[in-house]
Amino acid sequence: MSGIDKIFAELRSKKEKALIPYIMAGDPRLERTKEMVLAMEKAGADMIELGVPFSDPIADGPVIQRAGQRSLKCKTSLKDILSLVADLRKKTNIPLILMTYYNPVLKLGVENLFKAAERAGVDGLIIPDLPPEEGRAVLEESRRCGLNWILLSAPTTPVNRLKFLAKQTQGFLYYVSLTGITGSSLKDLSEVRTRLSMIRRMTDKPVAIGFGISTPEQAKALGEMADGVIVGSAIVRLIEQHLEDPELPFVVSAFVKRLKQAMTGRSF
């Protein structure tokens, strides 16, 4: 049972939904990323997605593109981010999921990455530009070391493929709420509801929804349909507005707290 599985099991028994904030590692600096992870955990985040910057992030909108550029300006590499995770493990057990494009993984070597990620204490991996059919090495490694390779599905994914993805994914199925890129605005909740009830009939694995979720109200509404909610661009935009603010971790965690409160309906 992975760290991600455990959290979903715990939350299910409490009838709660997972809040999964996304931030770009190294934006504005790795030291700040560390502070923000710890602050977000205190504010109620259940797992955290850490973006690995890439020069050509085709699944990302302008907000996360700019964050990646800022991080790359500081020369943040995948190896640096793995060191950050190892460092964070001295202070927290919160599941950490890396979201990375495939080329940095390939350059480091799939086996090398998994060895290093396992040692550092990474719980999951999302690779938006690697379909499972092309990722045999990643699949084998992820099975070997119990590190979850989380797959994405889209509103346009046909039923047969959806079944395949639900079967292959580990930890949870990442349901992309809309046809588009990160930071788009989600308008049609009824389509999400229909698709999710279809996915529910196919699998018992947890399903988390991402893309286009930017407000506590949306987090609450989508949390009611799924097992988890991923919020990325809205947080990254907040970071962008407070890059040099000494209170940055507080600003971010205050927003995360509002999201979690909306999802649980209680304050803490």
Binding site: V105, D129, P131, T157, G180, I181
Partner: protein
């Protein structure tokens, strides 16, 4: 993925469908002006004093480059799939113009993404696209060139996938694009093969073509792959020279990686970040190369070399002055290499250059480089 699966289905169907193929051929002939001539460059041959040089005149295609072959094919597929909107990336603007053109003739809505750096050096093509009713959207991220335009086009496609077909311009991207675009471009090599047979009674010794993504090169080379006596040379952009780091020579200085959904040779740093490229020619200014080129490079069937910006500019002058043909700066790279190669060969040998595009679009830029006020 579903969009790629759908495209593959229609592409496979169209390959063997008589009605599709006859419609494709009709537009190539009556709209694009095919077949393009194979021209014996007599004065250039004499001047270089070696092998006989032939030019495959893709520059004479409607819109000024080989790009139209592919855009006709894909626009017909878009119609088959019921997509009312097409999008594209463009570097030099030749592909963008070719997409705007087919969008006009087939009545499709059209949006072209172009890096702001390229928009500046190819402003004439930007205006041509707009004149034909296309929307040209500037891309200001990354290196502001072809790579970034592809990123943006892919983002658009993800967003509007239900109504939109992405007309990728070169033998790049995820399957089925590289194979499909090769099939739409192989008409170049099929014609050239017949034409050289007719005039010389034999096959050429060398084929030379410039390689950005590599669609004109693959289009020429593909029908000759089984002809063991025919040597094939792809010419990449050497920019300011390999040692300067400012170039787009993937085979000289790159390694295997994945970009835009394909595994191929590309220019990257130690962390797997894609490197910035440079070339005087916008159409060659890209960090990756078509995967089929990488395959034939690994098995030794196609060789690759590179020429610098300066050499390409000299070849631009050479062909203009000796033959009265102004090549696109992309194609000038092929001419520049052929000019080095021909003098080393015997007079009865044959070098066939793919003159993939015409140079009208580059006149302003060449003048600017030379400090000439127009």
């Amino acid at each position: 993925m579903p969009a790629l699966t759908e495209l593959e289905k229609h592409y496979k169907f169209s390959k063997n469908n008589k009605r599709f193929q006859s419609s494709f051929k009709k537009y190539l002939k009556e709209f694009a002006g095919r077949p393009t001539p194979l021209y014996y460059a007599e004065r250039l041959t004499k001047k270089l004093g070696g092998a006989k040089i032939y030019l495959k005149r893709e520059d004479l295609c409607h819109t000024g480059a080989h790009k139209i072959n592919n855009t006709i094919g894909q626009a017909l597929l878009a119609k088959r799939m019921g997509k009312r909107r097409v999008i594209a990336e463009t570097g030099a603007g030749q592909h963008g113009v070719a997409v705007a053109t087919v969008a006009a003739v087939f009545g499709l809505e059209c949006e072209v993404y172009m890096g702001t750096e390229d928009m500046e050096r190819q402003s004439l093509n930007v205006y041509r696209m707009r004149l034909m009713g296309a929307k040209v959207s500037p891309v200001d991220s990354g290196s502001r060139t072809l790579k970034d335009a592809i990123n943006e086009a892919m983002r658009d496609w993800t967003t509007h996938v239900r109504t939109t077909h992405y007309i990728l311009g070169s033998v790049l991207g995820p399957h089925p694009f590289p194979a499909m675009i090769r099939d739409f471009q192989k008409v170049i090599g099929m014609e050239a093969r017949q034409q050289i047979h007719k005039t010389e009674g034999r096959l050429p010794d060398y084929l030379v073509a410039c390689v950005g993504g590599g669609s004109n090169a693959m289009g020429l080379f593909y029908p000759f792959l089984d002809d063991r006596t025919v040597q094939m040379i792809g010419v990449e952009a050497g920019g300011h020279g390999i040692e300067s780091g400012k170039h787009a020579a993937r085979f000289a200085d790159g390694s295997l990686g994945v970009l835009h959904g394909t595994m191929t040779y590309l220019l990257q740093d130690d962390d797997g970040q894609i490197r910035l490229t440079h070339s005087v020619s916008a159409g060659l200014d890209y960090a990756a190369v078509g995967p089929e080129h990488s395959y034939h490079y690994d098995r030794g069937r196609i060789r690759f070399t590179h020429v610098t910006d300066q050499e390409a500019l000299a070849a631009f002058d050479l062909l203009s002055q000796v033959e009265g043909i102004m090549p696109a700066l992309e194609s000038a790279h092929a001419v520049a290499h052929a000019a080095k190669l021909a003098p080393q060969l015997k007079r009865n040998q044959i070098v066939l250059i793919n003159l993939s595009g015409r140079g009208d679009k580059d006149v302003m830029q060449v003048a600017k480089i030379r400090g000439v006020q127009l």
